[in-house]
Symmetry: C2
Subunit: 262 residues, 2 copies
């Protein structure tokens, strides 16, 4: 994948100006990228509580003040209405638009939630010498809805969604310790091995993303996935919800290393 | 201090029946004890956001559903109105009662927040061989309001409150690593050494608790303190707030080890 070594702030300016509208993998290497979910204030308390009760799939990095478009904690000066390459607009749980500028949909009562994403722990895995098959093969990871219930909060409920990566057995322990250091990016695996134990029937048929190729000795390793909160939010059919489009993340100014647990 | 080795569930039953009304140090060793702050639903969103934005002083263990008195996540079967030895009742930021049974003050719109407390990391320090002067001397720790601002959230704002323990220089590193494992109980120190650097003028004059005796070679070590959210909440003068009385904590059923970071 192409690497854009500039600082996130410069890249966001290009996104805002409409010069970048593609996926963000490879942009601003070393910096945390985030999922966006913006919801009306009326739904925000339940969503915040859902994230607090389910921190593994929903690692909160930033919650804006009501109506604020600047995520002051992770990207001062940014504008969440324009600085993501592509947005999805949902009304009552249904996609009504996909756009590169969410300004005309934004409302004064929206609260924006930014959540950690797998890019950070994948970086940690690669740094630790754990190769990732889907990156080698230029594919997306495989994702499933599991049988593991999230702890509900108000109107939000649902099963945990996981992503799966094939890991050589000899590197399992390293994959656990390397990702566990980053609780702000889903942390350690939630399951290793038998897919049936968490309600996954067929590793060749993911619910989202691409099937993965296993090499001899590879073990399936499952991490909590940021699709979880989005799926739970959509199931509750909020009147308005604005998210990033899959793969089109928000680039923060904080280095991956700042998400490391002490 | 006397040790009550029974399980928290049995001790809570004695508290509920009125047989125990004192401080909870030494009760149910090995299990997490928690701070209580119960607030009306109207203030709960801002308080939840304040805790999310300030996790070191405000490590959330449990947030009940609106009106629920059972903290199902950490103590199934418990009743937060009766199972704490002593409560303080605040109206508009002023103590109006201290009681062993909060039932008559509880309202259907209250949300109860349980936050981790220093007992867990003090246990971790002792297990790691770090002696604690205030325990040896039968005193309370020393606490100060610092110059470190919390990140505000809605109506809640304030400076971080810290507790201080004198630690021998040779054990500083061990004190850091032992407490850092427990982010759910304030985690690693937020400052080591010079009190003036965080706005503390006189180590002999704590804002709360007892002055500590230093032995030669001891260094002052400061941890974020659960007084922070309570002070921030009271400063906003909520119409009703119910807390535990200092030292009279809620006993959960979860072992200290479950708060260890992965």
């Amino acid at each position: 994948m192409p690497i854009d070594q500039r600082r996130p702030r410069e890249i966001r300016a290009d996104i805002r100006a409409g010069h970048i509208s593609g996926v963000t993998a490879g942009l601003g290497p070393g910096y945390v990228q985030a999922n966006l979910a913006a919801l009306p204030r009326d739904q925000a308390y339940d969503f915040l509580l859902f994230c607090q009760r389910n921190p593994r799939p929903c690692p909160l990095l930033e919650v804006t003040d009501v109506g604020a478009v600047e995520p002051v904690g992770v990207a001062p000066g940014a504008d969440l209405r324009t600085d993501i390459p592509r947005y999805r607009i949902y009304r009552s749980g249904v996609v009504v638009d996909e756009t590169t500028d969410a300004t005309r949909y934004w409302r004064d009562d929206l609260v924006a939630f930014l959540l950690g994403c797998s890019f950070t722990f994948e970086w940690a895995l690669l740094e630790a010498g754990v190769q990732l098959r889907h990156i080698e093969q230029g594919r997306n990871v495989a994702m499933w809805r599991t049988s593991i219930p999230c702890r509900p909060a108000g109107i939000f409920h649902g099963q945990m969604v996981v992503s799966m990566r094939p890991i050589p057995a000899s590197l399992l322990a390293r994959a656990v310790t390397a990702s566990a250091r980053f609780p702000g990016a889903h942390g350690a695996p939630i399951h290793i091995g038998d897919p049936a134990a968490i309600g996954i029937r067929d590793l060749d048929q993911p619910d989202w993303g691409d099937a993965q190729e296993f090499k001899p000795g590879d073990v399936p390793v499952f991490w909590a996935c940021g699709v979880t909160p989005q799926a739970a939010a959509l199931a509750s059919k909020p009147p308005l919800m604005i998210t990033h489009s899959p793969g089109h993340m928000f680039l923060t100014d904080i280095p991956n290393s700042t998400l490391a647990a002490l």
